[in-house]
Structures are given as C-alpha cells and as structure tokens.
C-alpha cells in the first residue's frame, strides 16, 4: 500500500509537486499520467528515496521512506526511465549483485536467475558486460531484478520504453500478475493505451498538482465531451487526457 500525504517538492522558485495526496491500495495498479514536467518522475524519485520531499510524507506499506529508508526500500522495487547499470558487470553478475543487496537467499538466486534470463531472452547475453547491452536489454534486466526480489511496492517510470513488442506484452502480464499477487503498482507512463488497459485507477498530474484521479469510467464522465467522443466511438483515455490538460495549456497562454 502507498500513502502519500501533502507531498510537496520545490526546486528554488519552482514547485514540481504541489501538496499531493494519494492512496494506492494493495493489489492495485495506479497509472500516473501528465505532460512533460508535470512532476511525475519527481514523485517517483521521492517515493523511492532518491529525493527528499520539501514537505509531506510517503509511506510504503506503512513505512515512512524518509524516517526509515532502509526498511522501506527493502520492500520496494524501482524501474527508472533510464536503466543505468554498472557497465563492467555481466548480466548474470548484475542479477546476483542485486539479489545479494536485497538479501535474496543464494539458493533462491540459483533457481530464479536462470528462469528470469530465459524469460527475458537474455540467456545468450548473460555473460556479456552490460556496456554491450542495448537500452531495451538493460531495461529487461532491471525488470528481471525486480522480479527476483518479489517486492510489495513496485514503482515504474516509463517501463515500456525501449522494449520490443514481445517483451512489452510480457511486462504488461508481469504487472498484472504482481498486482494479483498483492503488490501495489505505481506506474508513470506516456503510453495512454497501456494505462487504459492495465490500470485500475488513473491519476493525472498537471503543473505539480493532481488534477484528476479515478477509474476510466469516472474520468470519462468528467470530460467536457461526456462518454461519447462525438464520432461514434467511445471516448478514450487519450481524449480524456487531452481534454483535461490541453484546455489548461491554452488558457494559460
């Protein structure tokens, strides 16, 4: 479970996240959308302990990330938008390294790592140094490390970027499976189609504020177009997103 209360982050004069309040339940997948610079990545960085909030708090399964970072991180998995990894470690070494860091028992690592490498088509590359991996391969490897440690909270920042169609489909299944197994999934994405299909609820950030939060049905009802897009088709998340964010952009001009 994720509980965000009054979360604010300021960089000098700029307020990147402005008094964000949010609760994501166990087993829920929350899609976090917003235009560039809306404060999505900053929120994920605060939730994962890479940044400190200016005000407010984040609790992951009841553990405050600022007060008790080590324990909070032990149950959390982060997949960042840029999967920077140690270039001079091989794929299999990186998996063992993160396994050890998160305290995964060695016998479990021995059993799970070959499975994960197989799952992500990385077996032929397992002994290669990560400097020779493509962006997508590194992304798959970081996702594999997430599965190795069975997290209770999953923070995903654009997880599909760089993935091939097969891997992208597999990651979608993984996200649903993790949620079904009781994990709380918080996903930032710009791919609205994926958010629409995968997420139980969707939050839309704009200018550091959460301007809408709800299920697809609730969001549809809140748009100016109502439930119908006007051309005979049912309104999509893209319509909702543009309706909620574009007007504000123009009105600010």
């Amino acid at each position: 479970m994720i509980e965000i209360s009054g979360l604010t982050k300021r960089f000098g004069d700029l307020t990147a996240v402005d008094n964000l309040n949010l609760r994501v339940e166990k087993g829920e997948v929350l899609g976090f959308l917003g235009p560039n610079g809306a404060g999505k990545t900053t929120t994920v960085k605060i939730m994962s302990g890479l940044m400190y909030p200016t005000a407010g708090s984040v609790k992951l399964c009841g553990i405050d990330i600022v007060q008790n970072p080590v324990e909070a991180k032990r149950i959390t998995a982060l997949v960042p938008d840029e999967p920077f990894v140690y270039p001079k470690l091989s794929g299999v070494e990186f998996l063992h390294f993160t396994g050890d860091l998160y305290g995964v028992p060695a016998d479990e690592q021995e059993r799970r790592i070959p499975e994960l490498l197989e799952m992500f088509d990385l077996v032929p590359w397992q002994s290669e140094l990560l400097e020779s991996y493509s962006h997508g391969m590194r992304q798959k490897l970081v996702i594999a490390t997430m599965l190795l440690r069975k997290p209770k909270v999953v923070l995903l920042d654009e997880p599909m970027v760089g993935l091939d169609p097969k891997s992208a489909r597999m990651v979608k299944t993984i996200i649903r499976d993790l949620a079904a197994a009781g994990a709380t999934v918080f996903m930032c994405t710009h791919i609205l189609e994926i958010a629409e299909k995968l997420c139980d609820r969707i939050g839309i950030m704009y200018g550091g504020k959460m301007i809408e939060l709800g299920t697809m049905a609730t969001l549809r009802a809140k748009t100016s177009q109502g439930l119908d897009a006007g051309d005979g088709r049912r309104i999509s998340l893209e319509d909702v997103f543009l309706d909620l964010t574009s007007d504000r952009q123009f009105s600010s001009l």
């Binding site: 960085k45 994962s48 302990g49 890479l50 940044m51 400190y52 080590v70 324990e71 991180k73 032990r74 959390t76 982060l78 960042p80 840029e82 920077f84 990894v85 140690y86 001079k88 470690l89 091989s90 299999v92 070494e93 063992h96 390294f97 993160t98 050890d100 860091l101 998160y102 305290g103 060695a106 790592i113 032929p124 397992q126 002994s127 290669e128 140094l129 400097e131 020779s132 991996y133």
Partner: protein, 557 residues
C-alpha cells in the same frame, strides 16, 4: 557550418561562466592562483638549473641548448601520447557525437571540430609548463624581446604538431582495428609509454650532464653536446631555430620556423582529408560493445564464500565484490597501478642516489621523508580513494534505492582502499629508512606516522569524495581536477605540515640527546605534542567522514 560548431562551444563556455556561483568563482580563482604560483616556482627552479649549467666553464654555452632540446623532445613525445589518449576519448566517445553524426554535417567537419578539442586538451598543460622554461632560458642567455615572442609563437605549432601525431595514430588504429577494445589497448600502451618516459628521464640521471667525468672520454662528451639531439624531429626545428635566432643566423631560423608551421598545416590538412574515409569507420566500430567470449555463467565470488563463513557482512561483501570486478575490468585502473609502481621505483631510486654521508643527516632526511611519502600516498588517494563515490556514476540510483545504508557504502570504499594506501605508504617509508640507514627512533616514528597518515587520508578521500560527488562526469580526470579534489589535496598537505610541526619537538630532542648527553625533554611539551597529534588525527578522520555521510544522505539524484 563551422561557425555553428564553434558558436556552441563559445555559448556553453559563456553560460558556464555567467551561471557560476560565487563560491565556484572563488574556487576557480584559487585554482588559477595556485597554478600561477606553481609556474612561478618552476620558473625559479628552471632558472637556477639553467644558470648553473650556463656558468660551467668551456661547455657552459652549449649546455642550456642541449638540455632544452632534450626537454622539448620529451615534451613532444608526451604531447603525442597525450594526443593519442585524448583523441581516443574525444573523437570516438564524446557524448555529443551521436547528435553530430545524425546532423547534416560532413564527417570532415565533425572530425575537425573534435580534432581541435583533442589537440587543445592534450597540449595546453604541457605548453603552459614550458612557458616558464622559455622565460628562464631567455633570461640566462640574455635574450632580447623578440626571442620570447618568437619562441612563444612557435610553441603553438610545436604542440599542435605533437598532438597531430597522436591523433593520426588514433585515426589509423581505429581504422584498422575498429572496436572498443582498441581504446583500452591504446589507453594501456599510452600510459605505459608515459610511465616509460617518466622512468627513463629519472634513470638516465640527468644530473650527470654537469659532470663530464661521468662520460668516458671528454671529447666524446663535447661531441655529444654539439650534436643535435634529433635533427629531423620538430624539437630540433624549434630549439635549433631559436638557437639560430639568438646567434643571428636568421636564415636558419626562418627555415626551421617555416618547417614547423608548414608541417602543422600539412599534417592537419592530411588528417582532415583522410578523415572522410577513416573517421566514420572508426566511430562506427567504437560503438560496438565489447564481447566477453564464451558464456561462462556465474562464478561464485570469493567474497560470497567469506559471507557464508561469517567472515564478512553481506552488504560489505557484496559491494566489495562489485567494486573488485569493476576494478579488474577497467583497463584505466591497470595503467594507474603501473604508474604507482613506477613512482615508487623512481622515488626509492632517488632516495638511494641522495649524496648523504652523515648518519644524523640521513636520519633527519628520513624524518622529512614522511612529508614526501605522505604526498605520494595523498596523490594516490586523489586518483583512487577520492573518486570512489563519484565513480558510482549514473548507476548510483541502484545503491540509493536499495536497502543499503549510505554509511555501509562509505565503509566499503574505506575498506577497499585502506589496505593499498597503507601498503604504499609503509613500503615507501620502510624501504627509504633502510636505504638511508635511519636510526631506530626515527624509523619507528616515521613508520608509525605514515601508517596513521595513510589511514587518515583514506577517511579524508572517502569523506571529501562524498562531500563533492560528481556522478555525471565523462572521465575520471574531471573528478580529480574538481574543486573537491583540490580541497582534498590541500587538506592532505595541511595535515602533513601539521604532523611535521607537531613531531619536530620530540625529533629535536632526539637529535639533541645525541649531541648533548644532559639534554632532557620537557615532558609537558611532549604530552602536548602527543595530545595535538591525537586531536589532529581525530579531526582528520571524523570531520570529513561525518560531512561526507551527511552530504551523501542529502544528495538527490
């Protein structure tokens, strides 16, 4: 198109300048002041050496020119090697290359832009070092104003020519062996060549130049002095040309100077011409990842076995294993390791060559040797310990988001670097003491002092490295030469100075006791020294550590 590329550089420089904070400006000014002070010091040192050589009867007039041609020849080779290493990074691995190659710019334009960058990077420091030499030489031989102007003007094509040779070699190597492995091999060979040049310079004993008796036949010596060092090399065009200018042989000077300038245009012209074919092939190959060979799977590391047996904590062992792997696989570390061994060899060789005959003088030198050995240990720390946190680089998010305390991360870096630092320091001092034949008191004192200093430097390196982390740098030199690196070195030098001051009191009484049997130390002052020593080490260890931990914990990525 070229002005556009130039404009981006000028704009970036201008933006960095105007966005500079006050403290950054202050630090840069301090850097410049320290640099100028070093150059002034070098000027006086060069002047003393050249003036001494010039004053030697019969051969004095020849010696400064001979030394100059040797110095410029060495400098030329160093600029060439430096150019080779800089070109491998700048021409093939710069961040902006993918952007530039995807733009509608010709390969030749991109090559020229990057070549200018590589030439400047590889030559400006060495050129700066030669400026005080030129001024010292001019003063010793009583040269006129135009001597300085022409010499400094010709220094520019001279260093550019040296860099061009290095760039040419990198272009050829990457054309024939277009893989990322070539970069590693070049790095290793280039560094080895630098180390070789450094060791050769010391082991040929340049001090023998002032002793004709050291060469078997005096006529042979005179012949050696009169002969050009290497007539067909640019170093002779520069030094020979300036010698000709000084003695009024303007025709010879014009020939040498024009040879130098025309060679620069010719060589860079040829490089740009051939780059059309050679550069793209090398750049393409450089992007290919290095393959490891056969699939080896996972080999259980030693640290894991130590964790199982309870000899090591899990987090410490895991981080140590990771850092050991990264160290072993990064070829740049190997060359640095070789450089350390070379420094140690030259250091001990120089100690052995010291012309000391009195036992007390030898013991005194052993005591003062703490500062020199300490400086070597601090310099090694600047290369390894200080950058260890910054070298986590963009992968730092892995540790920052993992259930590992930053205290554990700092502790692991400390454990990793303390032993090598301790070994280098104690081996240098112990061996020096043996070579010098220092007495028991001084031997024990110096050994104890350097052992403690080595550990303190590791705390300072890790701590200050965490106070000034730079996770987004392109190469390690940017970390070393940063404001943090400067502060680390200043702190180490300050520590050594204070240690010598504190220990000078007991050492003074030790020597007095040898000359005057009734000399007895003041135990209150002795105790005060011991207290000051403990306090100094406590501050040197605790303060950077606490500051580093606090800064790293508040660091946002």
């Amino acid at each position: 198109m070229m002005p556009v590329l130039l404009k981006r550089r000028l704009q970036s420089s201008f933006n960095s300048f105007v966005s500079m904070q006050k403290w950054e400006f202050f630090v840069r000014m301090s850097f410049m002041a320290a640099g100028l002070a070093i150059l002034c010091g070098m000027y006086f040192w060069f002047y003393r050496v050249l003036n001494y050589l010039y004053g030697i009867s019969i051969i004095g007039q020849l010696l400064p020119w001979k030394l100059s041609s040797m110095a410029f020849l060495l400098m030329f080779s160093m600029v060439s090697i430096s150019g080779l290493i800089a070109a491998m990074t700048t021409l093939y691995y710069s961040y902006d290359l993918k952007f530039l190659f995807s733009s509608p710019l010709s390969v030749r334009r991109i090559f020229f832009d990057k070549t200018v960058e590589a030439s400047l990077y590889s030559s400006w420091t060495l050129a700066a070092v030669m400026v005080p030499y030129i001024f010292a030489l001019g003063r010793v031989i009583g040269a006129g104003l135009f001597f300085y102007i022409y010499f400094l003007a010709l220094l520019v094509p001279y260093v550019l020519l040296g860099a061009a040779f290095g760039i040419m070699l990198s272009l050829g190597l990457m054309y024939w062996f277009p893989t990322s492995r070539t970069r590693d091999i070049v790095w290793l060979l280039g560094s080895s060549a630098m180390i070789g040049a450094y060791m050769m310079l010391r082991f040929v004993q340049p001090e023998r130049l002032t002793r004709p008796d050291a060469l078997e036949v005096v006529s042979k010596y005179l012949q050696y002095l009169q002969a050009p060092t290497a007539k067909y090399l640019p170093s002779w065009w520069l030094v020979g040309g300036m010698q000709a200018f000084h003695y009024g042989r303007y025709g010879d000077f014009a020939l040498c100077a024009s040879g130098l300038v025309l060679s620069v245009f010719a060589l860079y012209g040829l490089l740009v011409y051939f780059s059309k074919w050679a550069y793209m092939k090398g750049f393409s190959g450089a992007q290919e990842g290095m393959r490891q060979g056969p699939n080896k799977g996972f080999v259980e590391p030693l640290e894991r076995k130590m964790i199982y047996t309870g000899m090591m904590e899990t987090v410490q062992g895991t981080l140590l294993w990771k850092d050991r792997k990264l160290f072993m696989r990064d070829v740049r570390y190997w060359s640095q390791g070789a450089l350390i061994l070379a420094i140690m060899a030259v250091y001990l060789f120089s100690i052995r060559q010291l012309p000391l005959d009195s036992g007390d003088l030898k013991s005194l030198i052993s005591f003062l040797n703490i500062s020199v050995a300490g400086f070597v240990v601090a310099s090694i720390g600047l290369r390894f310990t200080f950058p260890s946190i910054s070298l986590e680089g963009k992968s730092f998010w892995i540790l920052r988001s993992s259930p590992v305390s930053l205290r554990s991360v700092l502790k692991e870096k400390l454990v990793l670097w303390t032993l090598p630092s301790f070994l280098v320091g104690t081996v240098l001092v112990a061996w020096s003491n043996v070579l010098l034949g220092a007495d028991a008191f001084i031997s024990i004192l110096s050994l104890f002092t350097i052992a403690v200093a080595s550990i303190a430097f590791c705390f300072m390196g890790v701590g200050l490295g965490a106070v000034f982390p730079r996770f987004n740098v392109e190469n390690i030199h940017q970390i070393e030469s940063s404001a943090g690196g400067f502060i680390y070195m200043a702190a180490c030098i300050g520590y050594l100075a204070l240690v010598l001051v504190i220990e000078s009191y007991p050492v003074r009484y030790h020597f007095m006791g040898r000359f005057y049997s009734n000399a007895s130390p003041d135990w209150r002052l002795e105790s005060l020294c011991a207290l000051a020593y403990v306090a100094l080490n406590a501050v040197a260890i605790v303060l950077p550590w606490k500051l580093g931990l606090k800064t790293l914990e508040s660091c946002e990525i």
